[in-house]
Symmetry: C2
Amino acid sequence: MAVTMNDVARAAGVSLKTVSNVLNDYEFIRPATKQRVHDAIAELGYEANLTARSLRSGKTRMLGLVLSDLSAPYYAELASRLMTVASRRGYRVLVEQSGAVADTELTALQGPFRQLTDGLLFTPIAMEADAVASRRGTKPVVLLGEHIVDPRFDLVTMKNEEAATAVTAHLLAGGRRRIAVVGAYPEESAGTAGLRLNGYRKALDDAGIAFDPALVAPGEWRRDSGAAAVAGLLDSGVPFDAVFGLNDALALGAMHELLVRGVKVPHDVAVAGFDDIDEARFASPSLTTVSPGMDEIAERSIGLLIDRIEGLEAAEDGVHVEAGFVLKIRESAP
Amino acid sequence: MAVTMNDVARAAGVSLKTVSNVLNDYEFIRPATKQRVHDAIAELGYEANLTARSLRSGKTRMLGLVLSDLSAPYYAELASRLMTVASRRGYRVLVEQSGAVADTELTALQGPFRQLTDGLLFTPIAMEADAVASRRGTKPVVLLGEHIVDPRFDLVTMKNEEAATAVTAHLLAGGRRRIAVVGAYPEESAGTAGLRLNGYRKALDDAGIAFDPALVAPGEWRRDSGAAAVAGLLDSGVPFDAVFGLNDALALGAMHELLVRGVKVPHDVAVAGFDDIDEARFASPSLTTVSPGMDEIAERSIGLLIDRIEGLEAAEDGVHVEAGFVLKIRESAP
DNA sequence: GGCATTATCTGCAACGATGTACGGAAACAG
DNA sequence: CTGTTTCCGTACATCGTTGCAGATAATGCC
């Protein structure tokens, strides 16, 4: 049996409630009493029972993080940082993988997972805004990513469009004219993929170059799909002199396929990505990409969520935070 | 206010305890009663309060996973699989990053984190066996990795030595004679690094080649340290014709540095790694490495831990599980 | 000195579930 | 028809905390 508050109270010669008061920094306690309680706690090795505390207080001091797949490098790096930031404010992070399946996202949003957490960092992929709005309960939700952009929700995101424009402009400045895009449907214009594609199109427009849908290949945002998409482009015979992977995993998969096929990077085809995962720096050739300010995203999203939980952020409407970005020019597209 | 068991009981016209019994699959309940309760649950949208259940039952149905850094690709991929496997058995995984710091490992082992979980998957790095033995409480702990190999503990590991021997033998078979090792101290012989180094030495022995400590470079198991280690070797002028990175991150960092310096891989220097993270397949050149049966590791470690928690595994001594491995021969060391 | 105010501590109820013990009805044996 | 089992369901206590509402003592004010 573990040591309880009652044991501490007995040892310190005070009431159970006083122990509770000491632990909760109640204002009116004599220093001497406080000391006795602390001594008793130390002597008995008391540790508060978090479950009981949660039951009584309704708070778990855990934050939920819902993402599609923790093994995706961007999410792994983000989750790692989020945990670090959260722990500085006394919260833990509980991760749930949705697999980008609407059903699982829904369960994470309103099922038992929700109960375990005081608030949610939610990366919607399959669910739409109205569905989320009607199913989110009363606890705070901060959305990550760009699948849902809606004034009803708090949102932390990045400058997808501008950054994609910057990447594309950089490729254009390098003399590339037929820039393939991997990871989107040609007609997409919403969501992370859509926004980045918009940015790409804007850069083309600015340069007076026509958009060619044949250069846009869809695919899930993984290395293997990046490789497959480029294989498809090469096989189809569509000429291109650059590839913009809508995230680094796609770009790295694409680059791999190019090199396997004997296409020289960047000589024949330049490659650029998005996310600046650690891997990008160490790829060969190293990957030109966008660093989307992950530290800022982690800091702001955790900050916003905890402020909501603790009632420090009172804005009625959703707060939208957009982190800055930096273009990282490396060997794959110098 | 959320719907409680009491509400369900009232709606179904039974006692609170009967609702509890229905939910816990108590044997003796008339089908009609069970039906009424289920109807009431469905009608009211009742969901059991996990916190209350935990307080009363002492179980949280959460497993703790302690690892150094979730952003390391191997751990990210492992964590992702562990979560999937655990969820199939009705458990969640709560991750704690230790940063390979003894103090943090200790806190994870006996602090509040422990309370939140029914059992621990623990990757010790800084702590030693006796310290862990004396601090682990009464809840089950399954160790991962090889830093601690001790009959007192359940352990799930891989065939480090054999696999390292196989990799090294493969490099030797390819005609390499001066194989640098990145990620260990020359004199190391315990822990993951030590075991893999032992395997390397065994292969050298078998081939009648002398061990040269000058070829062994230490470094944390990250890409940047792999690059730095190889930079050091190149600068020192020690000749070598292969690099064995003790994990893939090291190997990929090493390979990057070689290529940057104009060393051709595999022509001048072959490179091999360990772990077979997804990235290895898509590196350029793709990385020869060991696939350590991560699925098996995930399956067995979760299985063992849950069996301990639920009292299904009764062995007094620690159970040791060693997953198989497969050598993946790719371009970096064909 | 009388009365309001402030400081310090306490007891009880409650959070929402489960474990134990037990009561009554039905089924069965003799 | 009585006595024992087997079913089915209920009541009450309990897990370890915190919120609420006092109780008592000390202090401030005029």
